[in-house]
Protein backbone atom coordinates (compact mmCIF):
# COMPACT_ATOMS: atom_id res chain seq x y z
CA UNK A 1 0.00 0.00 0.00
CA UNK A 2 1.40 3.39 -0.87
CA UNK A 3 1.68 6.03 1.81
CA UNK A 4 -1.06 8.64 1.54
CA UNK A 5 0.13 12.26 1.83
CA UNK A 6 -2.23 15.07 2.82
CA UNK A 7 -2.81 17.54 0.01
CA UNK A 8 -3.84 21.16 0.41
CA UNK A 9 -7.26 22.03 -0.98
CA UNK A 10 -7.68 25.72 -1.84
CA UNK A 11 -10.50 28.18 -1.22
CA UNK A 12 -12.31 26.69 1.73
CA UNK A 13 -13.92 28.88 4.36
CA UNK A 14 -12.50 26.90 7.21
CA UNK A 15 -10.14 23.99 7.77
CA UNK A 16 -10.52 21.31 10.43
CA UNK A 17 -7.57 19.27 11.59
CA UNK A 18 -8.00 16.20 13.70
CA UNK A 19 -5.42 13.59 14.58
CA UNK A 20 -3.10 11.85 17.01
CA UNK A 21 0.52 12.84 17.65
CA UNK A 22 2.01 11.27 14.51
CA UNK A 23 -1.01 12.27 12.48
CA UNK A 24 -0.54 15.90 13.47
CA UNK A 25 3.10 15.71 12.39
CA UNK A 26 1.88 14.62 8.95
CA UNK A 27 -0.61 17.49 8.88
CA UNK A 28 1.87 20.17 10.02
CA UNK A 29 2.75 21.44 6.50
CA UNK A 30 -0.95 21.94 5.73
CA UNK A 31 -1.59 23.68 9.06
CA UNK A 32 1.35 26.02 8.42
CA UNK A 33 -0.01 26.85 4.98
CA UNK A 34 -3.46 27.64 6.38
CA UNK A 35 -1.92 29.87 9.05
CA UNK A 36 0.17 31.67 6.43
CA UNK A 37 -2.91 32.33 4.29
CA UNK A 38 -4.75 33.58 7.37
CA UNK A 39 -7.80 31.34 6.93
CA UNK A 40 -9.93 30.12 9.85
CA UNK A 41 -9.07 26.74 11.24
CA UNK A 42 -9.57 24.52 14.26
CA UNK A 43 -7.41 21.72 15.61
CA UNK A 44 -8.55 18.75 17.70
CA UNK A 45 -5.78 16.63 19.12
CA UNK A 46 -6.71 13.03 19.85
CA UNK A 47 -4.63 11.45 22.62
CA UNK A 48 -3.42 7.97 21.99
CA UNK A 49 -5.43 6.35 24.75
CA UNK A 50 -8.45 8.52 25.35
CA UNK A 51 -11.65 7.78 23.48
CA UNK A 52 -12.56 11.24 22.31
CA UNK A 53 -16.08 11.91 21.07
CA UNK A 54 -15.69 14.40 18.26
CA UNK A 55 -19.11 13.85 16.74
CA UNK A 56 -20.63 16.95 18.40
CA UNK A 57 -17.70 19.05 17.17
CA UNK A 58 -18.13 17.79 13.61
CA UNK A 59 -21.92 18.14 13.65
CA UNK A 60 -21.68 21.80 14.60
CA UNK A 61 -19.44 22.77 11.68
CA UNK A 62 -20.78 25.13 9.03
CA UNK A 63 -20.83 24.63 5.26
CA UNK A 64 -17.58 25.30 3.42
CA UNK A 65 -15.39 23.49 5.94
CA UNK A 66 -12.74 20.98 4.93
CA UNK A 67 -11.69 18.16 7.23
CA UNK A 68 -8.25 16.58 7.57
CA UNK A 69 -8.15 13.47 9.73
CA UNK A 70 -4.83 11.72 10.38
CA UNK A 71 -4.31 8.86 12.81
CA UNK A 72 -3.38 5.19 13.16
CA UNK A 73 -5.03 2.95 10.58
CA UNK A 74 -6.60 0.88 13.35
CA UNK A 75 -8.57 3.90 14.59
CA UNK A 76 -9.09 5.77 11.35
CA UNK A 77 -11.96 3.59 10.11
CA UNK A 78 -14.19 4.31 13.12
CA UNK A 79 -13.48 8.04 13.07
CA UNK A 80 -14.11 8.12 9.33
CA UNK A 81 -17.50 6.51 9.91
CA UNK A 82 -18.32 9.20 12.49
CA UNK A 83 -17.31 11.94 10.02
CA UNK A 84 -19.49 10.44 7.29
CA UNK A 85 -22.43 10.17 9.71
CA UNK A 86 -21.92 13.85 10.56
CA UNK A 87 -22.33 14.74 6.88
CA UNK A 88 -18.77 14.94 5.56
CA UNK A 89 -18.43 13.49 2.06
CA UNK A 90 -15.22 12.09 0.56
CA UNK A 91 -14.90 15.37 -1.38
CA UNK A 92 -14.91 17.45 1.82
CA UNK A 93 -12.34 15.45 3.72
CA UNK A 94 -9.02 13.67 3.58
CA UNK A 95 -8.30 10.64 5.71
CA UNK A 96 -4.64 9.80 6.27
CA UNK A 97 -3.55 6.69 8.11
CA UNK A 98 -0.19 5.73 9.62
CA UNK A 99 1.33 2.67 11.26
CA UNK A 100 0.36 -0.90 10.50
CA UNK A 101 -2.63 -1.21 8.24
CA UNK A 102 -4.56 -4.44 8.58
CA UNK A 103 -6.80 -5.37 5.69
CA UNK A 104 -9.50 -8.01 5.37
CA UNK A 105 -9.19 -10.87 2.88
CA UNK A 106 -12.44 -12.41 1.70
CA UNK A 107 -12.17 -16.17 1.33
CA UNK A 108 -13.52 -17.22 -2.07
CA UNK A 109 -14.72 -20.51 -0.61
CA UNK A 110 -16.29 -19.88 2.81
CA UNK A 111 -16.88 -16.08 2.51
CA UNK A 112 -15.25 -15.41 5.90
CA UNK A 113 -12.67 -12.67 6.39
CA UNK A 114 -9.07 -12.99 7.55
CA UNK A 115 -7.01 -10.00 8.67
CA UNK A 116 -3.54 -9.51 7.22
CA UNK A 117 -0.91 -6.79 7.38
CA UNK A 118 -1.24 -4.85 4.12
CA UNK A 119 2.54 -4.38 4.04
CA UNK A 120 2.93 -8.11 3.50
CA UNK A 121 0.83 -8.11 0.35
CA UNK A 122 2.73 -9.76 -2.47
CA UNK A 123 4.70 -11.97 -0.03
CA UNK A 124 1.74 -14.23 0.55
CA UNK A 125 -0.27 -16.70 0.14
CA UNK A 126 -2.14 -16.57 3.38
CA UNK A 127 -4.46 -19.11 4.95
CA UNK A 128 -8.15 -18.56 5.59
CA UNK A 129 -8.54 -18.48 9.36
CA UNK A 130 -11.91 -20.23 9.10
CA UNK A 131 -11.77 -22.98 6.44
CA UNK A 132 -7.92 -23.08 6.22
CA UNK A 133 -7.87 -22.86 2.42
CA UNK A 134 -4.59 -21.41 1.13
CA UNK A 135 -5.38 -18.08 -0.52
CA UNK A 136 -3.65 -15.81 -3.02
CA UNK A 137 -4.63 -12.26 -2.12
CA UNK A 138 -5.67 -10.22 -5.15
CA UNK A 139 -6.14 -6.47 -5.55
CA UNK A 140 -9.82 -7.02 -6.37
CA UNK A 141 -11.63 -5.00 -3.69
CA UNK A 142 -15.28 -5.03 -2.69
CA UNK A 143 -16.45 -1.79 -1.05
CA UNK A 144 -19.56 -3.53 0.26
CA UNK A 145 -17.55 -6.36 1.85
CA UNK A 146 -14.74 -3.99 2.81
CA UNK A 147 -12.23 -6.63 1.78
CA UNK A 148 -9.88 -7.98 -0.88
CA UNK A 149 -10.62 -11.19 -2.73
CA UNK A 150 -8.58 -14.24 -1.78
CA UNK A 151 -8.41 -16.88 -4.53
CA UNK A 152 -7.79 -20.57 -3.97
CA UNK A 153 -4.02 -20.86 -4.23
CA UNK A 154 -2.48 -22.76 -7.13
CA UNK A 155 -0.97 -25.40 -4.84
CA UNK A 156 -4.37 -26.43 -3.52
CA UNK A 157 -6.66 -25.16 -6.24
CA UNK A 158 -5.01 -26.55 -9.31
Amino acid sequence: MKKIKPAFVHSKRMYLFCGDQKGMERLTPIIKKVMKENVSFEVVFLGEKEETDISMWMRNQKMGTFLYMAMEWSKLGNFKNVAVECGFSEEEAQFIGHGVRMIDVFCCKCHQKTKIDSGKLGNLPTTCSHCHLKLSVSDHYSPLRGSYLGYANLETGE
Binding site: C108, L133, H140, S142, P143, R145, L149, Y151, A152, G157
Partner: protein, 312 residues
Protein backbone atom coordinates in the same frame (compact mmCIF):
# COMPACT_ATOMS: atom_id res chain seq x y z
CA UNK B 1 -27.19 -32.13 -23.73
CA UNK B 2 -27.55 -29.31 -26.22
CA UNK B 3 -27.64 -30.44 -29.84
CA UNK B 4 -24.80 -29.36 -32.15
CA UNK B 5 -27.22 -27.60 -34.50
CA UNK B 6 -28.53 -25.33 -31.75
CA UNK B 7 -25.20 -24.57 -30.15
CA UNK B 8 -24.51 -20.81 -30.09
CA UNK B 9 -21.22 -20.63 -31.97
CA UNK B 10 -19.50 -17.53 -30.54
CA UNK B 11 -16.84 -16.52 -33.08
CA UNK B 12 -16.69 -14.25 -36.08
CA UNK B 13 -13.42 -14.55 -37.96
CA UNK B 14 -10.02 -16.09 -37.26
CA UNK B 15 -8.93 -13.67 -34.53
CA UNK B 16 -10.39 -13.17 -31.05
CA UNK B 17 -9.89 -10.09 -28.89
CA UNK B 18 -11.94 -8.58 -26.06
CA UNK B 19 -14.51 -6.23 -27.56
CA UNK B 20 -18.02 -4.95 -27.13
CA UNK B 21 -19.45 -7.69 -29.28
CA UNK B 22 -23.10 -6.91 -28.48
CA UNK B 23 -25.56 -7.02 -31.35
CA UNK B 24 -29.27 -6.14 -31.41
CA UNK B 25 -31.43 -9.00 -30.13
CA UNK B 26 -33.77 -10.10 -32.91
CA UNK B 27 -36.21 -12.43 -31.17
CA UNK B 28 -36.77 -10.32 -28.11
CA UNK B 29 -37.05 -13.02 -25.49
CA UNK B 30 -34.83 -12.74 -22.42
CA UNK B 31 -34.92 -16.50 -21.90
CA UNK B 32 -34.74 -19.71 -23.90
CA UNK B 33 -36.09 -23.14 -23.01
CA UNK B 34 -33.96 -26.01 -24.29
CA UNK B 35 -34.13 -29.79 -24.09
CA UNK B 36 -32.05 -29.74 -20.91
CA UNK B 37 -34.61 -27.56 -19.07
CA UNK B 38 -35.62 -30.05 -16.39
CA UNK B 39 -32.08 -31.18 -15.56
CA UNK B 40 -30.78 -27.65 -15.32
CA UNK B 41 -33.71 -26.38 -13.23
CA UNK B 42 -33.23 -29.31 -10.85
CA UNK B 43 -29.53 -28.47 -10.53
CA UNK B 44 -30.25 -24.76 -10.02
CA UNK B 45 -32.74 -25.45 -7.25
CA UNK B 46 -30.36 -27.86 -5.50
CA UNK B 47 -27.60 -25.24 -5.57
CA UNK B 48 -29.97 -22.54 -4.29
CA UNK B 49 -31.07 -24.80 -1.44
CA UNK B 50 -27.59 -25.83 -0.34
CA UNK B 51 -25.68 -22.61 -1.15
CA UNK B 52 -28.14 -19.73 -0.88
CA UNK B 53 -25.54 -17.02 -0.19
CA UNK B 54 -23.42 -18.14 -3.12
CA UNK B 55 -26.35 -18.27 -5.54
CA UNK B 56 -28.57 -15.34 -4.56
CA UNK B 57 -27.71 -11.83 -3.44
CA UNK B 58 -29.80 -8.67 -3.34
CA UNK B 59 -29.83 -5.22 -1.87
CA UNK B 60 -33.11 -3.93 -0.48
CA UNK B 61 -33.51 -1.06 -2.93
CA UNK B 62 -33.75 -3.49 -5.86
CA UNK B 63 -37.17 -4.91 -4.94
CA UNK B 64 -39.11 -2.74 -7.39
CA UNK B 65 -36.72 -3.67 -10.20
CA UNK B 66 -36.92 -7.34 -9.19
CA UNK B 67 -40.70 -7.23 -9.72
CA UNK B 68 -40.10 -5.67 -13.13
CA UNK B 69 -37.74 -8.52 -14.02
CA UNK B 70 -40.34 -11.06 -12.88
CA UNK B 71 -43.03 -9.43 -15.01
CA UNK B 72 -40.71 -9.22 -18.04
CA UNK B 73 -39.55 -12.83 -17.83
CA UNK B 74 -43.08 -14.16 -17.32
CA UNK B 75 -44.24 -12.12 -20.29
CA UNK B 76 -41.51 -13.68 -22.43
CA UNK B 77 -42.13 -17.22 -21.17
CA UNK B 78 -45.86 -17.03 -21.86
CA UNK B 79 -45.38 -15.32 -25.24
CA UNK B 80 -42.65 -17.54 -26.67
CA UNK B 81 -43.53 -20.79 -24.87
CA UNK B 82 -47.35 -20.66 -24.47
CA UNK B 83 -47.68 -24.44 -24.22
CA UNK B 84 -45.24 -24.58 -21.33
CA UNK B 85 -46.10 -21.43 -19.35
CA UNK B 86 -49.27 -19.41 -18.74
CA UNK B 87 -50.50 -16.58 -16.54
CA UNK B 88 -53.95 -15.94 -15.11
CA UNK B 89 -54.98 -12.59 -13.67
CA UNK B 90 -57.89 -12.66 -11.29
CA UNK B 91 -59.02 -9.78 -9.03
CA UNK B 92 -55.50 -8.47 -8.54
CA UNK B 93 -54.05 -11.92 -7.99
CA UNK B 94 -51.74 -13.38 -10.62
CA UNK B 95 -51.24 -17.10 -11.00
CA UNK B 96 -48.18 -18.28 -12.91
CA UNK B 97 -48.35 -21.81 -14.29
CA UNK B 98 -45.26 -23.81 -15.16
CA UNK B 99 -46.72 -26.73 -17.12
CA UNK B 100 -43.36 -28.45 -17.60
CA UNK B 101 -42.90 -28.84 -13.85
CA UNK B 102 -46.63 -28.92 -13.07
CA UNK B 103 -46.29 -26.01 -10.64
CA UNK B 104 -48.39 -22.92 -10.04
CA UNK B 105 -47.69 -19.83 -7.97
CA UNK B 106 -50.23 -17.17 -6.98
CA UNK B 107 -49.08 -13.71 -5.91
CA UNK B 108 -49.96 -10.03 -5.98
CA UNK B 109 -47.60 -8.11 -8.22
CA UNK B 110 -45.46 -5.79 -6.10
CA UNK B 111 -46.43 -7.37 -2.77
CA UNK B 112 -43.44 -9.34 -1.53
CA UNK B 113 -45.44 -10.84 1.34
CA UNK B 114 -47.31 -12.94 -1.26
CA UNK B 115 -44.17 -14.78 -2.36
CA UNK B 116 -42.05 -17.05 -0.18
CA UNK B 117 -38.86 -15.51 -1.54
CA UNK B 118 -37.71 -12.38 -3.34
CA UNK B 119 -39.17 -11.95 -6.85
CA UNK B 120 -35.84 -12.39 -8.68
CA UNK B 121 -35.15 -15.58 -6.74
CA UNK B 122 -38.67 -16.85 -7.54
CA UNK B 123 -38.59 -16.32 -11.30
CA UNK B 124 -34.97 -17.45 -11.58
CA UNK B 125 -36.08 -20.90 -10.39
CA UNK B 126 -38.21 -21.27 -13.53
CA UNK B 127 -35.59 -20.39 -16.16
CA UNK B 128 -32.27 -21.91 -17.19
CA UNK B 129 -30.62 -18.50 -17.27
CA UNK B 130 -28.71 -16.81 -14.49
CA UNK B 131 -30.24 -13.38 -13.81
CA UNK B 132 -28.09 -10.37 -12.97
CA UNK B 133 -29.61 -7.01 -12.10
CA UNK B 134 -27.57 -3.82 -12.38
CA UNK B 135 -28.94 -0.51 -11.11
CA UNK B 136 -27.98 2.86 -12.57
CA UNK B 137 -27.20 5.80 -10.28
CA UNK B 138 -24.56 8.50 -9.84
CA UNK B 139 -23.54 8.05 -13.49
CA UNK B 140 -22.59 4.41 -12.95
CA UNK B 141 -23.92 0.87 -12.97
CA UNK B 142 -23.95 -1.25 -9.81
CA UNK B 143 -24.43 -4.99 -9.52
CA UNK B 144 -27.13 -4.86 -6.86
CA UNK B 145 -28.90 -8.20 -7.19
CA UNK B 146 -28.50 -11.54 -8.89
CA UNK B 147 -29.38 -15.18 -8.98
CA UNK B 148 -26.28 -16.98 -10.17
CA UNK B 149 -25.93 -20.76 -10.18
CA UNK B 150 -23.64 -21.32 -13.18
CA UNK B 151 -20.90 -18.67 -12.94
CA UNK B 152 -17.74 -18.89 -15.03
CA UNK B 153 -15.31 -18.67 -12.11
CA UNK B 154 -16.58 -15.56 -10.32
CA UNK B 155 -18.33 -14.89 -7.04
CA UNK B 156 -21.68 -13.14 -6.82
CA UNK B 157 -21.29 -12.87 -3.04
CA UNK B 158 -18.08 -10.88 -3.50
CA UNK B 159 -19.12 -8.80 -6.52
CA UNK B 160 -22.51 -7.63 -5.23
CA UNK B 161 -22.55 -3.88 -4.68
CA UNK B 162 -19.64 -3.23 -7.06
CA UNK B 163 -19.55 -0.69 -9.86
CA UNK B 164 -19.14 -1.91 -13.45
CA UNK B 165 -15.43 -1.08 -13.64
CA UNK B 166 -14.71 -2.57 -10.22
CA UNK B 167 -16.26 -5.86 -11.36
CA UNK B 168 -14.10 -6.02 -14.47
CA UNK B 169 -10.84 -4.91 -12.82
CA UNK B 170 -9.27 -8.41 -12.87
CA UNK B 171 -9.52 -8.73 -16.68
CA UNK B 172 -6.03 -8.06 -18.10
CA UNK B 173 -5.75 -5.20 -20.61
CA UNK B 174 -9.48 -4.44 -20.25
CA UNK B 175 -8.91 -1.08 -18.63
CA UNK B 176 -5.69 -0.34 -20.50
CA UNK B 177 -7.48 -0.69 -23.84
CA UNK B 178 -10.29 1.61 -22.64
CA UNK B 179 -12.85 -1.16 -23.07
CA UNK B 180 -14.29 -0.79 -19.60
CA UNK B 181 -15.31 2.82 -20.25
CA UNK B 182 -16.58 2.13 -23.77
CA UNK B 183 -18.78 -0.76 -22.67
CA UNK B 184 -20.01 1.13 -19.61
CA UNK B 185 -21.01 4.07 -21.83
CA UNK B 186 -22.75 1.69 -24.23
CA UNK B 187 -24.71 0.08 -21.41
CA UNK B 188 -25.69 3.41 -19.86
CA UNK B 189 -27.15 4.48 -23.21
CA UNK B 190 -29.26 1.36 -23.58
CA UNK B 191 -32.95 2.06 -23.96
CA UNK B 192 -36.03 0.13 -22.94
CA UNK B 193 -37.48 -1.89 -25.80
CA UNK B 194 -34.09 -2.12 -27.50
CA UNK B 195 -32.38 -5.24 -26.10
CA UNK B 196 -28.93 -6.54 -27.05
CA UNK B 197 -27.17 -9.88 -26.99
CA UNK B 198 -23.56 -10.99 -26.84
CA UNK B 199 -21.75 -14.31 -26.65
CA UNK B 200 -18.84 -15.01 -24.35
CA UNK B 201 -16.72 -18.16 -24.48
CA UNK B 202 -14.15 -20.20 -22.65
CA UNK B 203 -12.81 -23.71 -22.65
CA UNK B 204 -13.12 -25.92 -19.63
CA UNK B 205 -11.86 -29.26 -18.52
CA UNK B 206 -15.03 -31.15 -17.62
CA UNK B 207 -18.68 -30.36 -18.15
CA UNK B 208 -19.79 -28.69 -14.89
CA UNK B 209 -22.21 -25.81 -15.23
CA UNK B 210 -21.57 -24.62 -11.66
CA UNK B 211 -17.98 -23.46 -12.01
CA UNK B 212 -18.21 -20.98 -9.16
CA UNK B 213 -15.17 -19.34 -7.62
CA UNK B 214 -16.27 -20.93 -4.35
CA UNK B 215 -15.70 -24.44 -5.74
CA UNK B 216 -12.55 -23.75 -7.77
CA UNK B 217 -10.54 -26.05 -5.50
CA UNK B 218 -12.79 -28.92 -6.66
CA UNK B 219 -12.87 -28.37 -10.43
CA UNK B 220 -9.77 -26.25 -11.13
CA UNK B 221 -7.43 -29.24 -10.78
CA UNK B 222 -9.16 -30.93 -13.73
CA UNK B 223 -7.18 -28.59 -15.97
CA UNK B 224 -4.15 -30.76 -15.27
CA UNK B 225 -6.00 -33.94 -16.26
CA UNK B 226 -6.37 -33.11 -19.96
CA UNK B 227 -4.49 -35.53 -22.23
CA UNK B 228 -4.29 -36.29 -25.94
CA UNK B 229 -6.45 -39.34 -25.25
CA UNK B 230 -9.31 -37.70 -23.32
CA UNK B 231 -9.34 -34.17 -24.78
CA UNK B 232 -12.23 -34.73 -27.24
CA UNK B 233 -14.68 -35.94 -24.63
CA UNK B 234 -13.31 -34.16 -21.56
CA UNK B 235 -12.75 -30.59 -22.76
CA UNK B 236 -15.86 -28.50 -23.47
CA UNK B 237 -16.42 -25.20 -25.20
CA UNK B 238 -18.45 -23.12 -22.77
CA UNK B 239 -20.55 -20.34 -24.29
CA UNK B 240 -22.60 -17.82 -22.38
CA UNK B 241 -25.40 -16.12 -24.30
CA UNK B 242 -25.85 -12.83 -22.45
CA UNK B 243 -28.98 -10.78 -23.18
CA UNK B 244 -29.30 -7.20 -21.98
CA UNK B 245 -32.59 -5.45 -21.24
CA UNK B 246 -33.28 -1.94 -19.91
CA UNK B 247 -36.09 -1.92 -17.35
CA UNK B 248 -38.26 1.16 -18.03
CA UNK B 249 -39.73 1.57 -14.53
CA UNK B 250 -36.61 1.34 -12.37
CA UNK B 251 -34.07 2.18 -15.10
CA UNK B 252 -32.14 -0.93 -14.08
CA UNK B 253 -30.45 -3.34 -16.50
CA UNK B 254 -31.23 -7.04 -16.63
CA UNK B 255 -28.52 -9.43 -17.84
CA UNK B 256 -29.72 -12.94 -18.53
CA UNK B 257 -26.93 -15.49 -18.96
CA UNK B 258 -27.67 -18.84 -20.61
CA UNK B 259 -24.71 -21.19 -20.40
CA UNK B 260 -24.15 -23.88 -23.05
CA UNK B 261 -21.53 -26.63 -23.03
CA UNK B 262 -20.36 -28.70 -25.99
CA UNK B 263 -17.60 -31.33 -26.00
CA UNK B 264 -14.79 -30.79 -28.47
CA UNK B 265 -15.62 -34.16 -29.96
CA UNK B 266 -19.08 -32.87 -30.97
CA UNK B 267 -17.83 -29.39 -31.79
CA UNK B 268 -15.33 -30.73 -34.34
CA UNK B 269 -18.09 -32.45 -36.32
CA UNK B 270 -18.50 -29.00 -37.86
CA UNK B 271 -15.44 -28.47 -40.13
CA UNK B 272 -15.90 -24.68 -40.43
CA UNK B 273 -16.00 -24.25 -36.66
CA UNK B 274 -12.98 -26.54 -36.26
CA UNK B 275 -10.88 -24.59 -38.73
CA UNK B 276 -11.80 -21.19 -37.33
CA UNK B 277 -11.31 -22.15 -33.68
CA UNK B 278 -7.95 -23.73 -34.53
CA UNK B 279 -6.79 -20.43 -36.05
CA UNK B 280 -8.13 -18.45 -33.09
CA UNK B 281 -6.40 -20.58 -30.45
CA UNK B 282 -3.09 -20.57 -32.32
CA UNK B 283 -3.06 -16.80 -32.39
CA UNK B 284 -4.65 -16.12 -28.96
CA UNK B 285 -2.49 -13.81 -26.78
CA UNK B 286 -1.27 -15.32 -23.53
CA UNK B 287 -3.01 -12.73 -21.31
CA UNK B 288 -6.37 -13.87 -22.70
CA UNK B 289 -5.67 -17.60 -22.41
CA UNK B 290 -4.33 -17.08 -18.87
CA UNK B 291 -7.42 -15.15 -17.79
CA UNK B 292 -9.73 -17.68 -19.40
CA UNK B 293 -7.89 -20.46 -17.53
CA UNK B 294 -6.99 -22.47 -20.62
CA UNK B 295 -3.21 -22.05 -20.75
CA UNK B 296 -2.51 -25.38 -19.04
CA UNK B 297 -4.20 -27.43 -21.76
CA UNK B 298 -4.37 -25.10 -24.76
CA UNK B 299 -1.64 -26.91 -26.71
CA UNK B 300 -3.39 -30.26 -26.32
CA UNK B 301 -6.59 -28.70 -27.68
CA UNK B 302 -4.73 -27.12 -30.62
CA UNK B 303 -3.20 -30.50 -31.51
CA UNK B 304 -6.63 -32.13 -31.32
CA UNK B 305 -8.24 -29.46 -33.54
CA UNK B 306 -5.37 -29.80 -36.00
CA UNK B 307 -6.01 -33.53 -36.27
CA UNK B 308 -9.68 -32.91 -36.96
CA UNK B 309 -9.15 -30.19 -39.56
CA UNK B 310 -10.27 -30.86 -43.07
CA UNK B 311 -7.46 -29.41 -45.13
CA UNK B 312 -8.78 -27.31 -48.00
Amino acid sequence: MVKVDSFPYPFKGDVYRYSNNSVPLEEQSSVEVTSSYQNEIRLKRELLTHHPERCFQSRRHTLKAQWEVTELVIQHLTTYYPQQFSLEKNAGKWTFHNHILNEQTTYILGDESTLSMEPLDFIGRHVQEDLILMMQRDGDLYLDAGQLCFPANWSLAFNTGMRFKEIHKPIPEFKEEGLDQRILTFLMRMEAGDPWVRRNWSLMAGNRLDTSLETFDQWGKDRRQVTGENVGEFVHLRVEVQKLFRLPGSNGLLFTIHTHLLSLEKFTRNPDWTEEFYQILQELPSHISDYKGISLFKDVVIDYLNEKRVMK
